[in-house]
């Protein structure tokens, strides 16, 4: 139990009566970094949102245990207090409250104790410098008028400030230029300790550079089709999702370029472990 942080069992999730996750199992232990890959529409973001408790999705079956606590039907704030964090793909604009004030309120809500203003401000500006965010962003309204890149940095800043046990990063690298991806990756690496864990949803190997990755999961049609080590990232980067095959060597996904079709056996021959 000490090691086991997140345990998702047979999770079925739907939105607007459409089933998206069809009995998904996933276990993340403390001190691990997991990567979740898959084509658009495979259900990656849905999994992240469902673990956070988004009201946009309905849990039809299964359970989510977090740190020994059943959070399947808990509200998002209870999950946040338990230590779950989700970096949003498109964070909301909230006019009228500054990033700094928001984070101070959130920190107080998560820890149950309002942080003292000056030390908090100092820590925040240090983190912002680390993320190469201009100091004035602290005084700007939460995400209002932030560029795509600044929004993603603001999400990572929130993660660093709230210091959760499990951070789910939903395409935190999308929309970032090469340098910004490196900066964000550094922030994410800095966050990881033996006591917390990461679940990274990404298409981009750049974000994962220099990161110690424990497991890579490939999501197909609302289920984890295969799980492997960091080599899967290279494979998919090189061959696209065409590299993911079933036990008979047949493609589970068609490549983006239409190089092969689902169910087709294509060259080179299948590799062991469900991937070429």
């Amino acid at each position: 139990m000490a090691q086991n942080l997140l345990q998702v069992t047979n999770l079925k999730v739907s939105a607007d009566e459409k089933v998206i996750l069809e009995g998904l199992d996933l276990t993340v232990n403390k001190g691990e970094t997991h990567v979740l890959m898959g084509q658009n529409g495979a259900g990656k973001s849905t999994l992240g949102a469902a673990i956070m408790g988004s009201p946009a999705f309905t849990v039809e079956a299964g359970e989510i245990l977090f740190d020994g606590q059943d959070i399947t039907h808990q509200s998002p704030d209870v999950r946040a207090k338990a230590g779950v964090f989700l970096s949003f793909q498109t964070p909301e604009e909230v006019p009228g409250i500054t990033l700094e004030n928001f984070l101070r309120v959130a920190k107080g809500a998560v820890t149950g104790e309002p942080p003292r203003i000056l030390p908090f401000r100092k820590a925040l500006s240090a983190e912002m410098e680390e993320l190469q965010m201009a100091p004035e962003y602290a005084k700007r309204d939460l995400n209002v008028g932030f560029s795509g890149g600044e929004r993603k940095k603001s999400e990572v800043l929130q993660m660093l400030t709230l210091n959760p046990k499990l951070a789910i990063l939903d395409e935190t690298d999308s929309g970032l230029d090469v340098d910004a991806v490196r900066t964000v990756a550094r922030g994410v690496r800095e966050f990881r300790t033996d006591e917390n864990a990461l679940l990274i949803i990404t298409h981009n190997a750049k974000l994962l550079e220099g990161m110690q990755i424990d497991k890579v999961h490939v999501l197909v049609g609302g289920k984890i089709a295969t799980t492997g080590g960091p080599e899967l990232v290279d494979l998919i980067t090189k061959h696209g999702f065409c590299a993911i095959v079933d036990e008979n060597g047949k493609c589970l996904m068609s490549g983006e370029d239409g190089g092969c079709a689902v169910g087709e056996v294509c060259e080179p021959a299948a590799m062991p472990g469900g991937a070429r």
Partner: protein, 472 residues
């Protein structure tokens, strides 16, 4: 744990119970309910009116009887004017020291924080309890500059009697509408302010209206004259405890802004939710002068409030910043009116409204540009936020532009509170109530930052209070 406790410090939490304390003191004098010439005569005698005022009242009563109820706006069916007590004199004289105000009344104002605010941040305070002003005081240094701040009754017979007579209900004649006529007949209390030419008051004057008697009306009259190149910030606060019969507030505010002068008029209206707030406010602005309205409407069962600015002189300006919060059972019809008469006049109306729990808020505005108001500019922007599907928001902007070189802009936005934004904030640990309160306060922020600090804090507290246990 509360999201906004850290936001602004030094002010204690406000909860609604503060407003709900009913004073228990028996009034000294109360007229029978209803309206007859006899009752008007009684009020007039009781108040020692000059003759012209007694005649004015009787004439207004006649106008009232002959004027139909407005055929537009919220329903006034719940208001039985025959059963409204028009005049309630508290058992107190007008005092210049809180020590001399009867304990019962003083307690009420203490609970509302008025004497505290006077000590810390105001140049002068007036406090009205039911129909009469019970306290009036201006700082010595302010009085020494020639600023007059007194109750209307004293002004009517004192040194400024002629000035009052010259201006009284000239901007808002009793023939304007039925409740203006009613006001003319039964008005009582209110403030008279005179700021001499060139005097710029850097701290505000405040007036607080408290309607304590059950089933009564409050009809205070505020008359403010700001002379050439002078400046005044006047703050008006209103509250009442809730009774199960309708109360009526039909005050009148007349503001005269002279050439080059500027007047800022801030109101936080937090009447109880059995109140019909049918208030009329109007300003006339001479050449190069400016009127700035800041208006927060939170209370009342039904409200109709559209402060009007007449930009008479060339280059006169007006700004109206308003927020309305309509909760369960409330129908608040608010907005602003402006008439551009002088050339190169400009106006900006900017409002936000919030409705929840079946509350209904209507934004109503009227912009008129006269043929001679060449080069004038007007912009109207209103934004409505509905917190659930039971609530209602309407926008009724009217524009009448009579020349072809006016620059007119209008923008309206009506929307629901975003579920995704609530989820976002909750995912950072905020409870649902706190997340909603943060979104609503943020929505209101452009308005609240225009308010004096303690009112901004009160407004945020009111929002938070309204958000507690609201149905999402």
């Amino acid at each position: 744990m509360n999201a906004f406790d850290q936001e602004k410090t030094q002010i204690d939490d406000v909860d609604r119970s503060m407003y709900e304390q009913k004073g228990t003191m028996a009034p000294k004098f109360e007229v029978a309910s209803g309206l007859t010439p006899e009752i008007i005569e009684t009020i007039s005698r009781e108040k020692n009116d000059p003759d012209w005022m007694r005649e004015f009242r009787l004439k207004s009563l006649e106008t009232y009887k002959n004027t139909p109820l407005p055929s537009w706006g919220p329903s006034l069916d719940g208001l039985d004017i025959d059963n409204i007590v028009t005049y309630v004199r508290p058992d107190s004289n007008m005092e210049a020291s809180w020590d001399d105000v009867p304990d019962e009344i003083k307690d009420t104002f203490e609970k509302l924080g008025i004497p505290e605010a006077e000590r810390t941040s105001l140049a002068g305070v007036g406090a009205q309890y039911d129909s009469e002003v019970v306290y009036h005081n201006v700082r010595e240094e302010v009085a020494a500059q020639g600023v007059v701040y007194t109750d209307m009754e004293s002004a009517l017979t004192g040194e400024y009697a002629d000035l009052v007579k010259k201006h009284f209900m000239k901007l808002i004649p009793p023939t304007d509408h039925k409740f203006a006529a009613l006001h003319g007949a039964v008005w009582s209390g209110g403030s008279f302010v005179y700021v001499p030419a060139g005097v710029k008051l850097d701290i505000p004057l405040q007036s607080y209206f408290r309607l304590n008697a059950k089933g009564a009306g409050q009809f205070e009259h505020t008359l403010i004259i700001v002379e050439k190149d002078a400046y005044l910030h006047f703050i008006e606060g209103c509250s009442a405890p809730k009774y199960n019969v309708a109360n009526l507030h039909a005050g009148a505010v007349e503001l005269y802004v002279a050439e080059g002068a500027r007047l800022r008029y801030s109101t936080i209206e937090n009447w109880s939710k059995n109140m019909y707030n049918l208030n009329t406010k109007r300003a006339v602005v001479e050449k190069g002068g400016a009127i700035e309205w800041v208006s927060g409407s939170f209370g009342s069962h039904t409200g109709c409030l559209y402060p009007m600015s007449i930009l008479k002189g060339d280059d006169a300006r007006m700004e109206f910043t308003g927020i309305t919060f309509a909760g369960n059972g409330q129908e608040l019809d608010t907005g602003a009116k402006v008439a551009h008469v002088g050339a190169n006049t400009s106006s900006r109306i900017s409002t936000k409204s919030i409705s929840k729990d079946g509350g209904s808020s209507t934004f109503r505005s009227s912009v008129t540009v006269a043929p001679g108001a060449h080069g004038s500019k007007a912009s109207v922007s209103c934004e409505s936020l509905m917190l659930d599907s039971e609530s209602r928001a309407d926008t009724l902007p009217a524009m009448d532009i009579r020349n072809d070189d006016a620059d007119i802009g209008h923008e309206a936005k009506i929307g629901r509170i975003s579920e995704q934004a609530i989820f976002y904030l909750m995912s950072r640990g905020l409870s649902e109530d706190d997340a909603k309160a943060m979104i609503v306060s943020g929505f209101a922020e452009p308005i609240s930052k225009e308010l004096p600090l303690e009112y901004a804090v009160e407004m945020n507290n009111l929002i938070r209070l309204e958000m507690k246990g609201s149905i999402g």
